[in-house]
């Protein structure tokens, strides 16, 4: 008995101090979501979540998206726009989903619990789609700058938007380019079994078959693989005149290099995921002559595109990889909708966002009834001398 009694006052003390600490906690937290505070009551803080892979093989793309979004945040804060008569102060909560669907939902729940006003992201279709349900249930607007799988906006969620043409459109443009412009009759298709890679490859296959081409083999890899010798050997045996890969640059680069090593002379065709600066670094000499497509128009043809590139370079001391202009636009459209209705409440600014007609950096942004961008163009590029050079812009018809 004597063993127990002496400890009682101590545990009471511990409990008491815990209460004291706990009492301090909520007071601090309560101050965060509300309109703070330095310059009196005339400011309103808007917290935007941003999700992309910041670690792992696609970290360079995730960082690129986040940089694009941060540039928009900086611009908005410098412009001191008014929302409901108050000066808006934007904050970005950057999260890492590792391009992993499971991590994607965990992070989405974290942002939903933090009650952010809107989410920019995710980068990959595979993470964007499962996360979109969480944002929808929490009543949070989500604008993806880069998820292209059509399913994302076809689940009936009013909160889901994207500022980038989807794979149905990209796949059909790629299919007609492959058959009519490149004259491909026998096509080998490889994909990385992610929602993005598989989705794009399926759409491409449909379009290519419809145009009369034969799909000689369909091979699969993963978004972590670096050894493609075995599947490319299989591809070689089918003697294709074009090899399509649905996936990201981290696989596409080494794949292009190994294609050359195996003595396959057929060119490769990629979607937006491989249409990056990084691809050339990874593929080296093996990059030359291959093709890729990217929704939207080339940066040079965007109004203010070159200025954006210079500002980005000056600020982050690196080149734009891929989606940074779209991430920038995603932030801007959310801010614009909030500004128009003078509210940061989803119920109020969501209709304004859906009806928006905004001159963005990448395009004139208008959403259709699903939340997809209207009139999404797709541009085709060819690798020449260590860079992607634009061949032609196709599409641009209403996307529905």
């Amino acid at each position: 008995m004597t063993l127990i009694t002496p400890s009682r006052p101590l545990s009471a003390l511990v409990a008491l101090s815990a209460c004291l600490l706990a009492a301090c906690g909520p007071k601090e937290e309560a101050a965060v979501p509300a309109a703070t505070a330095d310059a009196g009551e005339a400011t309103i803080t808007i917290r935007l979540g941003h999700v992309a892979p910041l670690t792992g093989p696609q970290a360079h793309l995730g960082k690129d998206n986040e940089n694009g979004a941060r540039l928009a945040i900086d611009d908005l804060n410098a412009e001191k726009i008014l929302i409901g008569g108050k000066v808006a102060k934007f904050e970005l909560l950057g999260e890492d989903d590792q391009a992993d669907p499971r991590q994607g939902t965990t992070v989405a729940q974290k942002l939903a619990d933090a009650r952010v006003h809107a989410v920019i992201g995710h980068l990959n279709s595979g993470t964007t789609i499962p996360a979109s349900r969480i944002y929808h249930d929490a009543g949070i607007v989500q604008v993806s700058p880069s998820a292209t799988n059509p399913t994302y906006t076809r689940q009936g969620y009013k909160t889901a938007f994207r500022v980038f043409a989807d794979d149905v459109q990209q796949g059909s443009v790629l299919g007609s380019f492959a058959t009519s412009k490149l004259g491909a009759k026998k096509i080998a298709i490889i994909d990385d079994r992610t929602a993005y890679g598989q989705g794009l490859a399926d759409e491409f296959e449909k379009a290519a078959k419809a145009a009369g081409a034969e799909v000689v083999t369909r091979e699969y890899t993963t978004d972590k693989e670096t050894d493609f010798a075995a599947i490319l050997t299989k591809v070689k045996s089918t003697k294709p005149d074009l090899v399509f890969y649905g996936g990201m640059d981290t696989q596409a680069g080494p794949m292009a290099r190994q294609l050359k090593t195996l003595g396959i002379s057929a060119p490769m065709l990629f979607g937006d995921g491989a249409c990056t600066v990084e691809f050339h670094k990874l593929a080296g000499e093996g990059a030359e002559g291959h093709y890729c497509s990217l929704p939207g128009v080339p940066l040079d043809q965007m109004a203010g595109g070159t200025a954006f590139r210079d500002r980005y370079k000056a600020k982050y001391n690196t080149d734009i990889q891929l989606y940074a202009p779209y991430a920038y636009d995603a932030v801007r459209v959310v801010a614009e909708a909030m500004k128009q209705v003078g509210s940061t409440e989803t119920a109020k600014f969501l209709p304004a966002l859906a009806a928006l007609n905004y001159p963005g950096l990448s395009a004139q942004i208008q959403f259709d009834e699903k939340g997809d961008i209207k009139d999404g163009a797709v541009t085709l590029y060819q690798a020449k001398g260590g860079a992607w050079s634009a061949l032609e812009t196709m599409g641009g018809k209403p996307n529905n």
């Binding site: 670690t55 091979e219 699969y220 890899t221 003595g263 990084e278 990874l282």
Partner: protein
């Protein structure tokens, strides 16, 4: 047929790399009964160190193969130091602890090394500059590059040298004695601590070579590359019979060839039900089959209970 030969060549290249890494696992296991899960990270450090060194050497204008060799010669001592340090810090203090403790520290060391590499080298993929001739030779209708020939030949030479070292030298005898029974070996005048340190250093040197091979062959390296490679090499070691040098070599080559053939033929064999991305599943399936019928691996002997 030429496709079959090509797949075998692909498998041999991959398998040679697996075998070199598997030797590191199997030597440590043979002597300490410990699975050094940080070994894959040593491979990664070897690859990234070599890449950094090569990046510094390229401007000197030396011929490509000399630059690569220079990178390798810098990576080897770095990895040896890493291997030595791992054993000293993470395993030696736990030498007499229950078996689970060093296993946990091994995983811990693996995570620490990976994170340190991420801080040091960043999260991006690093590319291997095109220093070696990439134009393929034709061999029985299959394509093989100089680099791939070098990889297979170097791996074979290193394995032969290792076998010679273990079976024919004084140090090798000390290693075998320590593996048999450390306490008795110590009584016979073997400096057990030194032998164990040497085993780690030797395994790490092989890991450095393997790391450079991976980076050169696949032209990329990044901080997370060691994990899957380590797991595959460990699998190869178990497949061949962990603790057995010949087993690690056989297991590595076999695993590489199985993977290549699986990726090439699994789609046709299953009528398209399983695609080529199931090659790893197939490789692990073979492992399970082997272990069901030969629990100690293909070349594993019955392991005597240690006193």
């Amino acid at each position: 047929m030429d496709i079959f030969i090509q797949q075998i060549i692909n498998g041999l290249v991959l398998g040679s790399i697996y075998a070199l890494v598997a030797l590191g696992y199997t030597m440590v296991y043979g002597i300490l009964g410990l699975i050094n899960f940080a070994h894959g990270e040593v491979v990664m450090i070897g690859a990234l160190t070599a890449l950094t060194a090569i990046g510094l050497l390229v401007p000197s204008g030396l011929p490509g193969p000399v630059v690569v060799l220079g990178g390798l010669l810098i990576a080897i001592p770095v990895c040896m130091t890493v291997g030595f340090t791992i054993e000293r810090i993470a395993y030696r203090p736990l030498r007499n602890a229950p078996r689970l403790a060093p296993l946990i520290t091994a995983i811990g060391v693996s995570i620490v090394l990976q994170q340190l590499a991420m801080i040091g080298w960043g999260r991006n993929y690093h590319t291997f500059p095109p220093l070696l001739p990439a134009a393929p030779h034709q061999f029985l209708g299959a394509a093989i590059t100089d680099l791939q020939i070098i990889i297979i030949a170097t791996a074979a030479a290193l394995m032969a040298a290792l076998v010679w070292l273990v079976t024919r030298t004084r140090l090798g005898r000390a290693m075998r004695a320590t593996a048999e029974n450390p306490a008795v070996a110590r009584l016979m005048g073997v400096d057990v601590d030194r032998v164990i340190s040497f085993t780690f250093v030797l395994g790490s040197a092989l890991a450095a070579v393997a790391g450079v091979m991976v980076a050169a062959n696949y032209s990329i390296a990044h901080y997370a590359m060691g994990f899957m490679l380590g797991l595959k090499a460990f699998t190869a070691a178990v497949l061949g019979g962990i603790g057995n040098l010949g087993g690690a070599m056989l297991g590595g080559l076999l695993l590489g060839i199985i993977e290549s053939l699986a990726a090439g033929y699994i789609g046709d064999l299953t009528g398209g039900f399983l695609g080529s991305h199931y090659k790893d599943v197939f490789a692990f399936f073979v492992l399970i089959l082997v272990l069901v019928f030969r629990p100690s691996g293909l070349m594993g002997e019955k392991v005597a209970e240690r006193a």
